[in-house]
C-alpha cells in the first residue's frame, strides 16, 4: 500500500468462487484480510488474531456450543463462527467479537458483491489503521 492508504476496494474474486461457508484471504494490509460468505452475505475480518497474532482466516468455520444449565450442551449458529487456528478463540464472523469473556475484537472490513464480483474495503470499519501487531 502506498501512503496515504488508498480507499479503493479490493477485488476478492467471483461470487461463484466464494460459496457460502467458505473463506478467502486477500492481500490487504500486512497480514491480509479474510473474506467470508455466511449464508450468502459477505463479511471480512483482519487476518490477525488479537490474542497471539494467528491467521484467523486459516481457522475452521463452525457454530458454537451453548448451555442453559450445566451439562446441557446445544450446538447452534453453524457457519457463523470462526475459531482461531491456534487457541481456538471463537469470533462472530459478522461482528469480529469474541463470544466469551471480556469482549476482544478483530477488525472488520466491509465486504459486498457487485455484478457477480466480491469486493472488500481496504480500510477497516471505524479505524484508520489496520492492526498488525506493530
Amino acid at each position: 500500500m502506498t501512503e496515504p492508504e488508498q480507499a479503493a476496494p479490493v477485488r476478492v474474486g467471483c461470487v461463484a468462487d466464494l460459496p457460502p461457508g467458505s473463506v478467502r484471504i486477500v492481500p490487504v494490509g500486512r497480514f491480509g484480510v479474510a473474506v467470508y460468505n455466511v449464508n450468502g452475505r459477505f463479511y471480512a475480518l483482519n487476518n490477525f488474531c488479537p490474542h497471539m497474532g494467528a491467521e484467523l482466516g486459516r481457522g475452521p468455520i463452525t457454530g458454537t456450543t451453548v448451555a442453559a444449565e450445566p451439562y446441557q450442551r446445544t450446538y447452534c449458529r453453524d457457519g457463523e463462527i470462526v475459531r482461531c487456528p491456534w487457541h481456538g478463540w471463537e469470533f462472530d464472523i459478522k461482528t469480529g467479537e469474541t463470544l466469551a469473556g471480556r469482549v476482544r475484537r478483530v477488525q472488520t472490513f466491509r465486504a459486498w458483491s457487485e455484478d457477480g464480483v466480491v469486493f472488500v474495503a481496504s480500510r477497516p470499519n471505524g479505524r484508520a489503521r489496520i492492526k498488525d501487531g506493530t
Binding site: 500486512r30 497471539m52 494467528a54 491467521e55 475452521p60 491456534w86
Partner: protein, 376 residues
C-alpha cells in the same frame, strides 16, 4: 531485527530466539519401526504410538494448531511445514526437539525399546537429513521405568553433539532425588547434559489424582503441573542439587509461576521442620532449575506476571518455548513483548544458549533468503 540489505548477504546472524519445546512426529509408526531393536517385535506395535488419549482438546484439530495439520493429519510430521511455520514464519533461530512418541505402555521392555527406536529415528531424520540448516537440536528420550536401558541410551548418544539433553515423563520415573534414579543423574552430569521432564499422556494408562479422575480436558490441564511440582520439590529437599551442583533440571510446559510459592513453602518448612545449612532454594532455582514459558500465564495485569518472573529468578531460570505444533502455541513476537525488558534477551535466547551449550550465531543457509521476515 531485519538483516541489512547493504553490502554482501550475511553468512551468519545472531541467535535471538531459541525455542525450548518443539514436537516433531513421525507420520505413522512405520517410519520408526526400522529402528526398533531386532530382538523386539511386539505383536501389535502399530497401535503403540497411535490413538487419542482421554482429555483430548475439543475442536476440529484436536491438540494441534489447525494450520499445522498436514496431509497425514499429524501435526509436526512434515519437515517442510515445520521449518516453514516455526523457523521462517515464527522466526525461531534454534529449536530443541522433544518427540512425544514415547508414551507409556504396560511392558517396561516395550517402552524402553520404543525410546531407543525413537532416538535412532530422530538421529537419522530430524537431526540429520532434515537438519540441513543446523537449527535443530535433539533430546535423548528415556523410559524411567527401566533405568538400565535408560543408562544405555545415555551412553549411546551422550557424546553426540546433536543431542543436548535427556528427556522423560515426570510420572513414571522414580523421584529424581532418589537413590534409584541417581545413576541417571550421574550419567547426565558425566555427559554434561541437562535432564528434562515433559508430561506425556498415554492412552489406557490415565493419571489418577489424589481426588480421583477429573471430568474435562480443561481440568486435566490444571493438574499436570503438579507432577512436575512433586518432582522438583522433592529433588530440592533431597539435596540432589547439593550433591551434583552441575545438574540442571528442565521443566517443559509446566508453567513458570507455581515454582515461586512452592519454594517459599520449602523455605518455611525448613525453618519449622529443620533445614539448617541448606542452600536457599531460590539459589537452586537460578543454578539448577529451568522452566519453559509456554503456555504463558496471562494475568489481567502484566505487572503481576513481571513480579512473579522476578521472584522466579527469570533472568536465569526461564527459557522461551512455543510447544509447536500444539494448539496453545505461543508466538515468539508476542511473548517477547510481554517479558520484562530486563529479562527479555535472557528469556528469549541467552538462558537456553547457556543451558544447552548452543552457538551464539547461526547460518543463513539459502542464498537470498532473508534472515528475518515480518514477525507476527
Amino acid at each position: 531485527m531485519t538483516s541489512t540489505t547493504e553490502g554482501p548477504e550475511p553468512v551468519t546472524v545472531p541467535v535471538r530466539v531459541v525455542d525450548s519445546d518443539v514436537h516433531p512426529a513421525a507420520p505413522t509408526w512405520e517410519q520408526i519401526q526400522p529402528y526398533v531393536p531386532p530382538s523386539w517385535r511386539p505383536a501389535d506395535w502399530v497401535r503403540f504410538a497411535s490413538g487419542a488419549p482421554m482429555y483430548s482438546t475439543p475442536g476440529p484439530a484436536g491438540v494441534y494448531r489447525a494450520d499445522a495439520m498436514d496431509e497425514n493429519s499429524v501435526g509436526g510430521s512434515s519437515p517442510q511445514v515445520l521449518s516453514k511455520q516455526l523457523l521462517e514464519d515464527a522466526g525461531v533461530d534454534i529449536a530443541i526437539l522433544w518427540p512425544l512418541a514415547c508414551r507409556h505402555v504396560a511392558s517396561t521392555a516395550d517402552e524402553a525399546a520404543a525410546a531407543s527406536a525413537i532416538n535412532s529415528w530422530m538421529a537419522d531424520s530430524w537431526l540429520s537429513k532434515d537438519n540441513w540448516h543446523e537449527r535443530y537440536r535433539g533430546t535423548i528420550v528415556i523410559s524411567g521405568r527401566s533405568i538400565p536401558d535408560a543408562l544405555a541410551e545415555i551412553e549411546k548418544w551422550g557424546g553426540d553433539p546433536r543431542f543436548v539433553q535427556i528427556g522423560f515423563d515426570p510420572i513414571g520415573v522414580p523421584p529424581i532425588g532418589s537413590r534409584a534414579f541417581e545413576p541417571v543423574v550421574r550419567a547426565a552430569v558425566k555427559h554434561n547434559l541437562p535432564i528434562s521432564m515433559h508430561f506425556i499422556t498415554s492412552p489406557g494408562m490415565n493419571v489418577l489424582t489424589p481426588v480421583g479422575f477429573l471430568a474435562y480436558a480443561s481440568e486435566f490441564r490444571v493438574l499436570f503441573p503438579f507432577a512436575y511440582a512433586g518432582q522438583v520439590t522433592s529433588a530440592v529437599t533431597s539435596g540432589i542439587f547439593d550433591r551434583y551442583p552441575q545438574l540442571r533440571l528442565v521443566c517443559i510446559e509446566a508453567g513458570i509461576s507455581w515454582i515461586v510459592p512452592m519454594l517459599w513453602r520449602i523455605q518455611n518448612l525448613w525453618s519449622v521442620l529443620g533445614g539448617a545449612g541448606r542452600r536457599d532454594p531460590f539459589d537452586c532455582l537460578g543454578e539448577n532449575l529451568r522452566f519453559t514459558t509456554q503456555p504463558l500465564e496471562e494475568p489481567e495485569d502484566l505487572r503481576h506476571l513481571h513480579r512473579v518472573l522476578e521472584w522466579a529468578r527469570g533472568d536465569r531460570s526461564i527459557m522461551f518455548s512455543t510447544d509447536y505444533p500444539h494448539f496453545d502455541f505461543d508466538n515468539p513476537g508476542q511473548v517477547e513483548r510481554r517479558m520484562p525488558a530486563s529479562m527479555r534477551d535472557r528469556i528469549m535466547f541467552e538462558n537456553a544458549i547457556e543451558t544447552y551449550g548452543l552457538p551464539r550465531t547461526r547460518k543463513v543457509v539459502a542464498a537470498g533468503r532473508p534472515a528475518e521476515v515480518a514477525r507476527r
